[in-house]
C-alpha cells in the first residue's frame, strides 16, 4: 500500500540525520517475530475485539448504528487528513493551519448559502428539489452544492496564497514552516471568532435529501452515510487515480523522491508545489463543507480537526494516502465505539474515551514508529 506521496530523504537534501534515524529504526519489512511486546499488543487487540463482539451480540442494531456512525466519521477524517498528508508528502510542510482551512471552508459555505440562497424564490430553482421551496431554512440541491463549491475553490486559493506568501521562501525549513502556519492559525481562529461568533452553526443539507436511510431495523442519517462516505470514497479513488495514473501524479511522485532532479528535468516544480497546496487546501475545504453539514461549525472545531488529522497521519504514516485511509478508519471507529461501549456493568467510563484515542496512538507507534505505512526517508 505504499502507492502514494511518500517523502524522500529531506526532499533532496542529503539529510544525514534522517537516514541515520531510519537506520536505527526497525525496518518496515514483512517479517514478524514473536516478542513480548507483540504478544501483549495482540492480546489487547483480541480483548477489544471480543469485548465489541460480546456487545454486538447483545444488541445488534445498536452495534450497526454505532459502526455506521463511526464509518461516516472516518470518512470525514479521511477527507480532511488526505489533504494534510498530500501536502506533507510532497513538500514536507506540516500545515498547522489545516484545521483553520477546514473551519473557514465550512463558514464560507454557510455564508454563501445564507447570502445567495436564503430566499428560495424563482430563478434559482433548477427543480431538483421535489417538495420544498419557500422557507428560509429550505434549500434545494443547488443551494447546497454551489456554496460548497465556491467555498472549496476559495479555500484552495487561500492555501496557494499562504504557500506563496509565507512558505515558498522557507522551503526546507520544516520547523519554521510549522511555526508560520501555527501563527496563521492563531490569527485565523481569532478572525473567525470575530466574524462568525461563538455559537455553533450548521450548513443546511438540501431538503431533497431524506433524513435517514433504513437498513433493516437500523436507521442512519442519509447525509452521513451516503453523501459523506460517498464523497470520501470518490475522493480517495480520485486521488489514487490522479497520483497513480496521470502525468501529474508521476511528477508529484518524482518530486517527492527527488525534487532537484525533477526541476533539473525542466519541470516547473514550483507550479507542482502550488497545485499540490491548492489540492490539499481544497480537501480541507471539502471536509469543512461536509463536516459543517453533518456536524456543526464552531470555534474549536479547527483545533479538533487539526488534532484528528495529526492522529490520522501519525497512525497511518506521514505522506501515505492509504495510511490516511486506515488511520481515519481506526480513529473514527475507536471514537464511535468508545462513546458507547465503554460501560462495564454499572461503571460508565465513556468520559475516559479520549484515553482510548491516546492508547491507539501509543499502540501503533510502539509497533511502527513511523506509522502503519510510513516509510523511513
Amino acid at each position: 500500500m505504499s502507492e502514494t506521496v511518500h517523502s524522500g530523504p529531506g526532499g533532496g537534501r542529503p539529510d544525514v540525520a534522517d537516514a541515520a534515524s531510519a537506520a536505527g529504526q526497525p525496518q518496515a519489512d514483512g517479517r514478524t517475530t514473536v516478542t513480548p511486546k507483540r504478544v501483549a499488543i495482540a492480546a489487547i487487540v483480541a480483548l477489544v475485539v471480543i469485548w465489541i463482539a460480546v456487545k454486538a451480540a447483545k444488541d445488534f442494531s445498536q452495534f450497526a448504528t454505532v459502526t455506521l456512525n463511526g464509518l461516516s466519521l472516518s470518512a470525514l477524517y479521511f477527507v480532511v487528513a488526505s489533504g494534510f498528508t498530500l501536502i506533507f508528502g510532497l513538500m514536507r510542510v506540516v500545515n498547522m493551519a489545516h484545521g483553520s482551512l477546514y473551519l473557514l471552508g465550512g463558514y464560507l459555505a454557510l455564508n454563501f448559502q445564507q447570502k445567495l440562497f436564503q430566499k428560495d424564490d424563482g430563478g434559482l430553482h433548477i427543480s431538483l428539489s421535489a417538495g420544498g421551496g419557500g422557507g428560509g431554512g429550505d434549500y434545494n440541491l443547488v443551494g447546497w452544492l454551489v456554496p460548497g463549491l465556491m467555498s472549496v475553490l476559495i479555500i484552495g486559493a487561500i492555501g496557494v496564497a499562504m504557500q506563496q506568501l509565507f512558505l515558498r521562501w522557507n522551503q526546507g525549513q520544516d520547523l519554521r514552516q510549522a511555526l508560520i502556519t501555527i501563527a496563521i492559525s492563531v490569527v485565523a481562529a481569532d478572525q473567525m471568532l470575530a466574524a462568525y461568533g461563538g455559537i455553533a452553526k450548521d450548513i443546511k443539507a438540501p431538503s431533497l435529501f431524506p433524513e435517514s436511510v433504513s437498513l433493516g431495523s437500523v436507521h442512519v442519517g442519509f447525509f452521513r452515510l451516503v453523501i459523506v462516505v460517498g464523497s470520501a470514497l470518490a475522493i480517495g479513488l480520485g486521488l489514487w487515480l490522479l497520483i497513480k495514473r496521470t502525468r501529474y501524479g508521476k511528477i508529484v511522485r518524482a518530486g517527492v523522491d527527488d525534487r532537484d532532479m525533477v526541476a533539473a528535468l525542466g519541470i516547473n516544480v514550483q507550479l507542482v508545489f502550488a497545485s499540490a497546496f491548492f489540492l490539499g487546501a481544497m480537501l480541507a475545504g471539502v471536509g469543512g463543507v461536509l463536516g459543517g453539514t453533518m456536524l456543526s461549525l464552531q470555534p474549536g472545531e479547527d483545533t479538533g480537526f487539526l488534532l484528528n488529522s495529526l492522529i490520522v497521519v501519525i497512525i497511518g504514516g506521514m505522506g501515505s494516502l492509504g495510511g490516511a485511509a486506515i488511520g481515519a478508519l481506526a480513529l473514527g471507529l475507536v471514537d464511535a465505539y468508545a462513546d458507547v461501549y465503554l460501560v462495564f456493568g454499572s461503571h460508565d467510563l465513556t468520559n475516559y474515551s479520549i484515553l482510548l484515542t491516546f492508547a491507539l496512538l501509543v499502540v501503533v507507534l510502539a509497533v511502527r514508529p513511523l506509522g502503519l505505512f510510513g516509510r523511513p526517508a
Binding site: 540525520a17 522557507n170 525549513q173 501563527a183 470575530a194 479520549i354 484515542t357
Partner: protein, 373 residues
Amino acid sequence: VSLAPDAATVEAEARSASHATLSRNGWIALAGVVLVAALAPLVVSDFWLSQILTKALWLGLAASSLIFLSAYGGMVSLGQVAIYGAAGLTYANLVAADGGNPAAWSPWLAVIGAIVVGTLVGLAFGFIASRSEGIYFLMLTLAFSVLVYYFSSQVTQLSGFGGVNNLDLPSLVGDPGAAPAPLYFTAIVVCLVLYLWMRYVSRTPFGLALQGLRDEPARMRALGFDVRTHRTLAFTFAAFVASFAGLLSVWYNRRISPGSIDLGQTIDILIIAVIGGLYRLEGAWVGGLAFALLDNYSREWTPSIGNVLGPERFNTLLGIIFLIIVLASPGGLVGLWESGIDRLRRRRGGGGAPPTTSEAGHPTGGPAATTVK
C-alpha cells in the same frame, strides 16, 4: 561542516566545564537581575507585581522547559502544557477545593504528588515521543497536549468543563489575591533554582551528550550513546521543570480549568519561547515578560479596525507578532539583542565577534535552521 565531538572530547569538555554553569559575567548579570527583581515590590504596584511580573515568571518557567529541550536536545515540544496541566490537575485534585476529587491533602504533600505525577507523565510521553524527530516530534507532542486538554474537559470526576476552583494553597504563598508578594518571591526562587539547574545539567556529560545528539544523532549512535534513553530522560527532566510551572500557575490562578491548558495556551507558551528565542534559556523569561506586557497593555493602544483588529482581538495581534518574529528573527528578542551586540563589537573593530556560546546550539541561526551542518 563541523565535526561531531567524539566521546573523549565530550568527556573532557564535561570535566573541564562541569563547574562553569555560568561564566563570571553571567553570574554578575544574573545577580543584577535577581536583585532588581527582588527589589521590584518596593517600586511597582500590586497589580504590576501580580499581573506582569509573577505571570511572566511562571510563563517563562514553562517556556524555559520548552527551550531547554529545543536548545540542548533539538526537540521542539508542544507537550509542555500537557505536563504542566497534569501537574496542576494533580495538585488541584489533591488539595481541598471546589470541584474535582475531595482528597484534601496538605498542600505540601500535594506539591510532591503533583511533581511526581507531572514528571512521570513526562517520562511516559518522552518514552513514546523519543523515537520521533523534528517535525514528527512536534506533531506528536502537540497531540499529547490536546489529548490532555480533552481528558480534563471530559473527565468530570477530576475536572470537567468548569475546572477546579478555590484551591487550598500552602501557607508560604498565602493569598496571592490579597498579597501578591509571597507568591512572587516564591516564583523567583523556584525559577532561579530551576534555571541554574538546567544550566548545570547542560554542562554535565549528560547535557553535552544531549547536544551531541542534537547535532549528529547518527555519529552519537555510532559512538555507542543510547539516543532514545537520552531523549527520554531529557524530556523527563524538562517535564520536571514544567511541573513546577504548572504548580506556580495554579497557585497564581487559584484554579485550573480545561481552558487554561488548551491549545491556545500551548501556542502561547510556544510563542513566548519563540519571542524569547528558541535557543537561549534566559529568553524564556524575556518572552514571558513581553507576553504579560502585551496581554495587559496592548488592548489600550491597539487601534480598532472594524471587526478585524481592536482590543477584543488580542489573539490576532499576538499571532501577527508571532508571525513577524518567526519570519524576521528566528532568534527572537534575545537573538535580536545578541546580533545587535555583535554588530556593535564588530564596529569597534574587535575583529569577528566571538561565536555565540557553544552550548547555545544552532549557530546557523535559530530554531528554524534544521539544515545539515
